[in-house]
């Protein structure tokens, strides 16, 4: 009896996702159409990819508030490269590299200055956004080769290309977290930094690496976003940090570090995606959507806290 209850509570995010899915299928005839589902997949791909990066960062006990700005800057620089005539693959790689560099800088600042990541990334949130506006003079990049739209809008074997990308990234991040030394160190550092230092783990190196990986995934998300809009917007990604952090937290990640999983994060991101899709289908205004999403975050974290408190 007791065990079942505990298991039920752990499965709560997953069950909510299914219930949400069923409810939306009943509430709107448009929901369960191939068209709508592909569009949900495309819409959530950006948040999902970012949230994967955020998962590692949060597990290691950090947080990255600058991801929205990183997304904007990498999308912008990546499309600028395309504008200059670089091949598409190279442009995408440049976008990823810019994201990685931004994350790396965050990591360096966190480990060298020894100030809380919340403060560091709040600062770089402003810096990276400002950099985008300076590089672009505030103007979007439009001259992009048509082939670039494949990344965000194309399909492979009848399934959106971004969905393939997401699966690949998710598998890689999962393997990194659960089956490599880097992932293990991320858990250890997030769970008890002092004990990790005493155990001889190169803590600063791994914190920096974690932010760089998170940045790289955000860079990829930035290129997906740019491809979907077919512009490089210096203002892209504003407010996305909320979505990414929420996905991790809804999926069972703890802002105290040491807890979180790829599966959980994906479920969290899909819940948020379905909520906003459902709200669109049911003609609920954008304003209310924000209220709903905010409430869901609080509800999810409360339920999770209750579960953990009971377990102790």
């Amino acid at each position: 009896m007791k065990i079942n209850k505990a298991m039920l509570q752990r499965l709560l995010p997953f069950l909510s996702l299914i219930i949400l899915f069923v409810a939306l299928s009943i509430a709107s005839p448009y929901f369960l159409t191939a068209n709508n589902l592909t569009s949900v997949a495309r819409q959530t791909a950006v948040f999902n990819t970012m949230a994967l990066g955020m998962t590692i960062v949060i597990i290691s006990g950090g947080i990255d508030l600058s991801v929205g700005s990183i997304l904007g800057l990498s999308g912008l620089i990546g499309t600028m490269a395309l504008e200059r005539g670089f091949p598409i693959a190279v442009g995408v790689l440049i976008g990823i590299a810019v994201g990685m560099l931004c994350g790396f800088l965050n990591g360096l600042l966190v480990t060298r200055l020894r100030i809380p990541p919340f403060v560091v990334t709040l600062g770089t949130l402003g810096i990276y956004r400002g950099a985008s506006l300076i590089f672009s003079n505030g103007l979007p990049v439009h001259k992009i080769p048509a082939g670039f739209s494949f990344l965000g809008e194309g399909s492979l074997l009848g399934i959106p290309f971004v969905a393939w990308m997401l699966v690949i990234c998710a598998v890689i991040v999962h393997v990194v977290l659960e089956h490599t030394r880097l992932g293990r160190y991320a858990f250890a550092i997030g769970s008890n930094k002092i004990a990790s230092v005493y155990a001889g783990i190169p803590v600063d190196f791994h914190i920096t690496a974690v932010y760089a990986i998170g940045g790289a995934l955000t860079g990829l998300a930035g290129m997906i976003e740019a491809s979907r809009l077919m512009t490089g917007q210096p203002t892209a990604g504003q407010g996305y940090e909320l979505q990414a952090i929420a996905a991790v937290v809804i999926g069972g990640g703890s802002l105290n570090g040491g807890e979180g999983s790829v599966i959980g994060t994906l479920i969290g991101a899909f819940i948020m995606g379905l909520l906003s899709n459902g709200a669109d289908l049911l003609n609920i205004s954008n304003y209310w959507q924000q209220v709903i999403i905010g409430s869901v975050i609080i509800l999810a974290v409360t339920l999770d806290e209750v579960r953990k408190r009971r377990a102790v």
């Binding site: 030394r181 250890a188 769970s191 008890n192 004990a195 005493y198 001889g200 783990i201 377990a311 102790v312």
Partner: protein
């Protein structure tokens, strides 16, 4: 009518049964010892009494009527207070604030009067003669210091039942005597006291009646005077245990670690020189605050050394971080398992391999099967009571957490071991296993420094004993020395 009566208390955590048949009767004006192996359920039973954990089944009678306590403040309201095994203090607050946390006097604006609190705390501390200052921040305190704050916190408001969960596990002799004085004092005021300990030398000094728990149930209860100690131990562990540990002493080999004239200003270490040799267990005694932990920290590269040098295998070593120390083959089993020892929210297996993940990885990829197998094997050697290596370290009993910390450093296969209070909270059965593991290490050629506040175990295990006093080495004693000789070197003679 007894003060407290527990009848057939049951408690399960997920698949783990912590208590079944938890029976206990405590009278006013008695010191009731609660004994049992690590993981027997002592802390859980007491947390139920103190309103921290809720029971699944069974009765709790308080002055004859059944009570259900939903929180520690409900327990405090009816007169039950507890000194916890693992400190539950607020780290960023002062000693005074912690003592009165949640019970502060407020003025008419609802503001806390800090001055009054500090004053009251100072009074309390003086009354019991603890080496504490009311203004100190709690996160700067040693485990012993935090233990004393916990004690002040529990006794400051009038309760009729006080629970001490291993209050002396991190204290040395003179602080332990202070605790005894407090306990006797409270008993004289007709309070009921429940006292948990793994130190066999304390039992007769402090106890009146005794209850032994095994595997979550009470297996013996009665007057302490009616039962010999070896029979108590048999009740606890269910087998015969050689109470006094004896090891074969080897002739020490080559020096592995040499500390030469090391001084650390920040932690007041002055001019310390010592040598740790292969195959030798060097004991270290001293009072709380004598600088034993600080010396370990300095050797381990946590605190920078201001002058002097450290040599490893005869070569000068630059140890500027724990990582340097670990890579030069030094292991430090820290005294504070919850702060610097364990990742509480991670599984046992993760913790065991934490200092040596390299050993289970190929090209950066982990061999999880071997992790599980090896941590289960080490756990078995140390009589770790756990459901599986996947159990979260934070859900283990205190003594079992300590075993995981030791296992972590055994897994590292270092050559120089610094054990800071290694047997803190470990039961009598498992202590023997820990000492056996230590002498196994010595036989295999490791050099060992063993810091301990328990003089009997130091005298039995160590080949020689160094004594520290106020940041200096005050002397060295050979094997076979007496407790008095150690104490004389440890306690400062004040000039008359």
């Amino acid at each position: 009518m007894p003060l407290l009566e527990l009848q057939d208390i049951e408690k399960r955590f997920g698949g783990v049964t912590a208590l079944r048949g938890g029976n206990l009767t405590v009278n006013a004006g008695e010191v009731h010892l609660l004994l049992g192996e690590n993981g027997a359920g002592k802390s859980t039973l007491m947390k139920i009494v103190a309103g921290i954990v809720r029971r699944d089944a069974g009765k709790m009678l308080w002055n004859g009527s059944e009570v259900f306590l939903g929180s520690p403040s409900e327990a405090a309201a009816i007169g039950i207070a507890m000194v916890n095994q693992e400190s539950l203090l607020a780290p960023h607050m002062t000693v005074a604030e912690n003592i009165f946390l949640g019970r502060e006097e407020r003025n008419s604006f609802g503001w806390v009067n800090r001055r009054a609190i500090t004053e009251k705390a100072r009074h309390l501390i003086e009354q019991y003669g603890f080496p504490l200052q009311a203004e100190w921040r709690v996160d700067r305190l040693s485990p012993a210091g935090r233990q004393m704050v916990e004690i002040c916190r529990a006794i400051q408001h009038g309760s009729s039942l006080l629970i001490f969960d291993e209050p002396t596990s991190s204290l040395s002799d003179s602080e332990t005597r202070q605790v005894f004085r407090i306990v006797r004092d409270l008993k004289a005021r007709n309070m009921g006291i429940i006292y948990i300990t793994h130190r066999m030398d304390e039992l007769r000094v402090i106890g009146d009646r005794v209850t032994v728990l095994r595997d979550g149930g009470a297996v013996h209860t009665g007057n302490l005077a009616d039962i010999p100690t070896d029979q108590l131990i048999r009740h606890m562990v269910g087998r015969e245990v050689a109470q006094i540990y004896q090891r074969d002493h080897l002739t020490p080999g080559a020096p592995l670690l040499e500390v030469r004239n090391v001084s650390v200003e920040a932690s007041r270490l002055k001019n310390i020189s010592l040598t740790l040799r292969q195959g030798e267990i060097t004991g270290m005694a001293g009072l709380i605050g004598a600088g034993r932990t600080e010396l370990c920290r300095a050797i381990f590269g946590v605190d920078p050394v201001d002058s002097g040098e450290i040599l490893i295998e005869g070569k000068p070593a630059r140890l500027t971080s724990p990582r340097d120390a670990v890579q030069s083959g030094i292991a430090l089993v820290t005294e504070d398992r919850q702060i610097s020892g364990l990742a509480l929210r991670l599984p046992i297996g993760y913790n065991v391999t934490m200092a040596n993940v390299e050993r289970i990885s190929n090209f950066g990829f982990l061999d999880l099967k071997s992790e599980t197998a090896r941590s289960a094997e080490l756990g078995g050697k140390m009589r770790l009571k756990a459901a599986s290596p996947a159990q979260l370290a934070g859900t283990l009993s205190g003594g079992n957490q300590q075993k995981v910390v030791i296992a972590k450093w055994l897994f590292r296969e270092s050559r120089i071991f610094l054990f800071d209070e290694p047997t803190r909270g470990i039961d009598i059965g498992a202590k023997a296993e820990v000492f056996e593991l230590m002498s196994e290490l010595a036989r295999a050629g490791a050099a060992i420094l063993m810091v301990s506040s328990e003089l009997p175990e130091l005298m039995h295990v160590a080949d020689r004993i160094l004594v520290m006093r106020q940041g200096r080495l005050s002397g060295e004693l050979p094997r076979g020395c007496t407790q008095e000789q150690i104490m004389k070197l440890a306690v400062m003679e004040t000039a008359a």
